[in-house]
């Protein structure tokens, strides 16, 4: 670990971006310098430059799942590719576990990728001439792991993603969902610390997508990786995210927890984006509960303050009385009234 990094090791972010820019075009660097960091994508476009990422600064902490979300062309992939250094950022600093990756030699970068990073691609990007097993063993073999050992590890990964029995299939013999399972297994084979997923489920049918999201959550509950997950599907983001970064034209418009994004949209764009989102799916009980009133007649039902409203609404209604809200330690912290739930379910935003 380089000594100039002052943050102590325990709460050091895994990924840290400081004013990262990526601008495509021949005279990108000169344009950026003369613009003094204030990039307007329209005027840049007229000058023949395309803005991919515009002044992105954020941190991702250990074990956190950050979703990067935005419409197609908003720069999500470009941001991810800057962090994995598949493209060179035009300006800014990027640290992985405190190390400045933009100043790494290609040898260091290769070491980093071999041991710390895994990536899943939208179009699966499997090697067409290799079997499932060989695809999954590939990153290990590249690292120089022996055939025996890498095949054994690959076999474990095959079991992990539920593809046992298909070890010797070629990618073309698998369905899209199965291919992406291979992609996931391959990216996890080296036990990376940071896991990048670029729209991993976008190419799949809705039913399969749901199934894969469940699978992903299951894996994450076992593995607890630090994850950067790109998607253009807000539902997916809400299902999976710890925090969401919403991008537009290369700019990160807002980066926050799902609830905060829905409740306190930072810009008009985010507001528009979140308008249609059913709030009972994001908000937790905590945000609409009332203080405990000892005089009130409450039901025996106890619900957690962290529960998503949508998941407990039915129970609250059938209780017929206000229900008790408790925290992790089963201490009573409030009461939830059905009327509040009704207003979340059917009310307009203005009531909040």
């Amino acid at each position: 670990m380089p000594s100039e990094v002052v943050i102590s090791e325990t709460d050091q972010p895994v990924v840290q971006c400081d004013s990262v820019y990526k601008i495509f075009g021949d005279n990108a660097i000169r344009m950026l310098q003369s613009a003094n960091g204030v990039v307007d994508s329209k005027s840049f476009h007229e000058a023949g430059c395309i803005v991919g990422v515009n002044n992105a600064s954020f941190e991702v902490n250990t074990g956190e799942l950050l979703i990067i979300m935005g419409l197609s062309g908003s720069g999500k992939s470009t941001l991810l590719r800057c962090i994995s250094r598949l493209t060179e950022a035009t300006a800014g600093k990027i640290f992985i576990e405190g190390e400045d990756i933009l100043s790494m030699s290609s040898k260091q970068l290769i070491e980093l990728r071999r041991n710390k990073m895994g990536m899943v691609f939208q179009s699966f990007a499997l090697l067409p001439d290799k079997t499932v097993l060989e695809n999954i063993a590939f990153p290990l073999q590249i690292k120089g792991t022996g055939t025996q050992e890498s095949i054994k590890r690959a076999k474990d990964m095959v079991d992990l993603v539920g593809l046992d029995g298909r070890e010797n299939y070629f990618p073309r013999q698998l369905s899209g969902g199965q291919q992406q399972r291979v992609g996931i297994a391959r990216s996890l084979a080296v036990e990376p610390d940071i896991w990048f997923l670029d729209e991993p489920f976008s190419a799949l049918d809705p039913l399969i997508r749901k199934e894969m999201q469940d699978e992903f959550l299951r894996l994450q509950s076992v593995l607890s990786k630090t994850i950067l997950f790109v998607t253009h599907d807000f539902d997916e983001a809400l299902r999976l995210a710890d925090r969401i970064a919403i991008m537009k034209d290369g700019v990160i418009e807002q980066l926050d927890t799902p609830a905060n994004i829905v409740l306190h949209p930072a810009t008009d764009y985010v507001d528009k984006f979140t308008k249609e989102v059913p709030r009972e799916r994001i908000l937790r009980v905590e945000s609409i509960m009332d203080p405990v009133d000892p005089a009130e007649d409450v039901s025996d039902l106890r619900i957690s303050k962290d529960a998503i409203i949508g998941t407990v609404a039915e129970a609250v209604f059938s209780a017929g009385k206000p229900v008790t809200v408790v925290d992790k330690n089963q201490t009573v912290v409030g009461a939830l009234h059905a009327s509040k739930v009704v207003s979340v379910l059917f009310g307009s935003r203005a009531e909040h």
Binding site: R113, Q122, L127, F138
Partner: protein
């Protein structure tokens, strides 16, 4: 009026035709009229080529070479030293494989010298008994793919042995086993290099274009000048011819590897080398394997042509058989060539697709079962051959090696067949032949020769302009100008005439056959298999049946061209029609159009670009066949190329004539390709 013409392609064609006809009528034939024929300004080109080659080989860059005979250093030109060393390496390799199969003394001589070898007469390398080679092929086939390949290999080798073609076949095999890997390797290296560097790609592209459209014959003389005559020269000529498709397909395959796959490789921590060898090249394998297949086909197609410059083997014998009009023997030889081609192709494919079984935990015997089996077969075969020396007292030892032409033969049968056909259909064939030549071919030929050069240029450049724009038009003009300035314009017109007639007829046949077959899945698969098989045949094979029917005439040439060139026309028609999306068929059927209407209004326009690329191939195939058919006797460029082969100073002529033929092909290619590309873009198909 002018606006209308500029807008409408049909009108443009009408105007073009009117101008063309007027020019043909107005301009009078005369040697001094430059509107009739251009003066041969680059007549001296062949001589200049000769002189520079001469200079390169005998004077350029002399270096000191130690000569043990006179125990001193001697000045020798660098280039001839290089080509000589190259030749001897290749010759050594060919002889090594050849003598492993057939026995001999040359490899031993390479290490010891002739003196030693003639003193020690025991030092002869024995041949592998044919039973061992054939069983080896069976075992290899089984190890690579399974029973079917084993049976195929077994039948092929037994056929070859039983029909008494063992020796020439093994000679050909040894030649191909050197030429093919060298071509594949060179193709890979150049293809990867072109992929890595734009400059290399830009330099290689026109060279490949010319190399792929130059007739095989025209390489031969230059090769003999640089490398002399013999098996090695044949191998080198073959490599020159077989490498370009491999380069092309390697480059194509590498370009097709998706960006994400490459990024996946990078994210897995590949170094640049690992990325190339373990991601890019393996992922491009599909196209590269097509390349390997093409290389093998080219190698076998070249066996006959390479025999002109001293390559031994089946090709040489086939050539002799054709010259003596021994149809039956030519047929048997042709089958040998095809069998070797098919077996090699299937084996290389099976080898490349072989999967590793990682879970098998095998004992030594199980792991080496095929090697052990071969060892057993080897010993059994050797003992059998030894026993044979006692059993068979008279004649050759059939258990060891079946000498050339000492096997069974069906020649009598075929000869009788030919005789019967001749006796029965003599008058019909003769009548047809005469009618075709006098009534059809000769008038067309005269029409071609009667075109003033200005009219020809306006017509071709005009078509190129209408279909492809100014750039196309200028390229076509430049290509034709080269031919016009040589002294062979009239010859080129004859070549063009044979090619045109061949292409037109082939296209009609191919489009009809392709359209019919495309209506039905089974027929489609069947026809594509037939096309695959026919394409395996070396072009010379096609001459056998046509000579059988029409003797040595223009008709034979034409028929060979038609049979050969119909293959790509059929294939591309089927592929084009089958790629029309099914919704469009259904949309057509729903709106109640008849089959013919649907074909004309929906399928044909959509598949036309792809079909045109087929016609492009047809042109190339037809040109090759026209030139090869010079063997039968034509009076076009091919005949001159053939003549240049026996001329000591034929390099310049051979190359220049080859360029002329290539440029005809490239001019057609330019027009069709530009048109097809634009059309595909407009239709939004790829």
């Amino acid at each position: 009026m002018i606006d209308a013409i500029l807008q409408n392609r049909k009108l443009q064609f009408v105007v073009l035709l009117i101008v063309f006809t007027l020019l043909c009528v107005i301009i009078t034939p005369s040697d001094t009229n430059i509107f009739w024929r251009l003066p041969p300004l680059i007549k001296g080109l062949p001589l200049a080529i000769n002189d520079s080659v001469e200079y390169l080989m005998s004077d350029w860059f002399p270096i000191d070479i130690y000569d043990p005979e006179i125990d001193d250093y001697e000045q020798k030109p660098l280039l001839s030293q290089i080509t000589r060393s190259l030749s001897s390496v290749i010759l050594f390799l060919i002889n090594l494989i050849r003598e492993l199969l057939l026995g001999g003394v040359k490899t031993i001589v390479t290490f010891t010298g002739w003196d030693w070898a003639s003193e020690n007469t025991w030092a002869r390398w024995p041949a592998l008994p044919w039973t061992v080679v054939a069983s080896g092929a069976v075992i290899l086939g089984y190890a690579l793919k399974g029973l079917r390949l084993a049976i195929l290999a077994g039948l092929a080798f037994v056929y070859i042995a039983v029909f008494g073609q063992w020796e020439p076949s093994m000679e050909t095999l040894s030649f191909v086993l050197i030429a093919a890997p060298v071509s594949v390797f060179l193709g890979l290296v150049l293809g990867v290099w072109a992929y890595k560097s734009r400059v290399v790609e830009m330099v290689l592209n026109p060279i490949l274009n010319v190399a792929q459209t130059m007739p095989h014959f025209s390489y031969l003389v230059p090769v003999t000048v640089f490398f002399g005559i013999g098996d090695h020269a044949g191998a080198i000529a073959t490599v020159i011819f077989a490498t370009p498709p491999m380069v092309r397909l390697t480059l194509l395959g590498l370009k097709k590897v998706s960006a994400e796959v490459i990024e996946a490789g990078m994210m897995n921590g590949c170094t640049e080398r690992q990325l190339l060898y373990r991601v890019q090249i393996p992922s491009a394998r599909r196209d590269m394997l097509i390349g390997v297949n093409q290389v093998i086909m080219q190698c076998l197609a070249m066996t006959v042509i390479a025999s002109f410059i001293g390559a031994k083997g089946l090709g040489h014998n086939l050539l002799l058989a054709l010259n003596q009009l021994r149809i039956g023997q030519a047929l048997e030889l042709g089958i040998c060539i095809v069998l070797i081609a098919v077996v090699l192709d299937r084996m290389s494919l099976a080898w490349a697709n072989k999967q590793t079984d990682y879970f098998a935990d095998l004992s030594f015997v199980a792991r080496h079962k095929f090697s052990l089996l071969f060892l057993a077969v080897f010993m059994a075969g050797t003992i059998l051959a030894y026993v044979g020396t006692f059993l068979i007292k008279e004649g050759p030892n059939y258990l060891y090696l079946i000498p050339h032409n000492k096997g069974i033969t069906t020649e009598q049968f075929w000869q009788a067949g030919v005789d019967w056909v001749w006796e029965t259909f003599f008058y019909v064939l003769k009548g047809f032949n005469e009618w075709l030549i006098k009534g059809v071919l000769l008038p067309i030929k005269n029409a071609y020769l009667g075109m003033p050069i200005v009219a020809t240029f306006i017509l071709t450049m005009g078509i190129a302009y209408i279909l492809g724009g100014v750039r196309s038009s200028l390229i076509v003009g430049a290509l034709l100008l080269f031919i016009a300035l040589t002294e062979w314009w009239d010859r080129a017109l004859i070549t063009a005439y044979l090619m045109t007639v061949g292409v037109v007829v082939s296209t009609v046949f191919g489009v009809i056959a392709g359209t019919l077959c495309a209506q039905n899945n089974l027929a489609t698969r069947f026809m594509l298999t037939v096309c695959d098989t026919l394409q395996t045949f070396p072009s010379f094979i096609y001459l056998i049946p046509v000579i059988m029917l029409f003797g040595i005439t223009d008709t034979s040439v034409l028929f060979a061209v038609i049979v050969y060139a119909t293959i790509p026309a059929t294939r591309y028609t089927i592929e084009g029609l089958r790629s029309v999306p099914a919704q469009l068929h259904e949309a057509g059927s729903m709106s109640g159009v008849s089959w013919l209407q649907r074909w004309l209004t929906i399928e044909l326009p959509l598949s036309l670009p792809h079909m045109m690329l087929g016609i492009n191939q047809t042109v190339v195939f037809a040109l090759f066949m026209v030139i090869i058919a010079a063997m039968i006797g034509t009076d076009d460029l091919g005949q001159l190329i053939l003549k240049s082969l026996s001329d000591r100073h034929g390099v310049g002529n051979g190359l220049t004539l080859g360029l002329c033929v290539a440029f005809i092909g490239l001019a057609v290619d330019q027009v069709i390709r530009t048109w097809a590309d634009e059309r595909k873009r407009l239709l939004g198909i790829d």
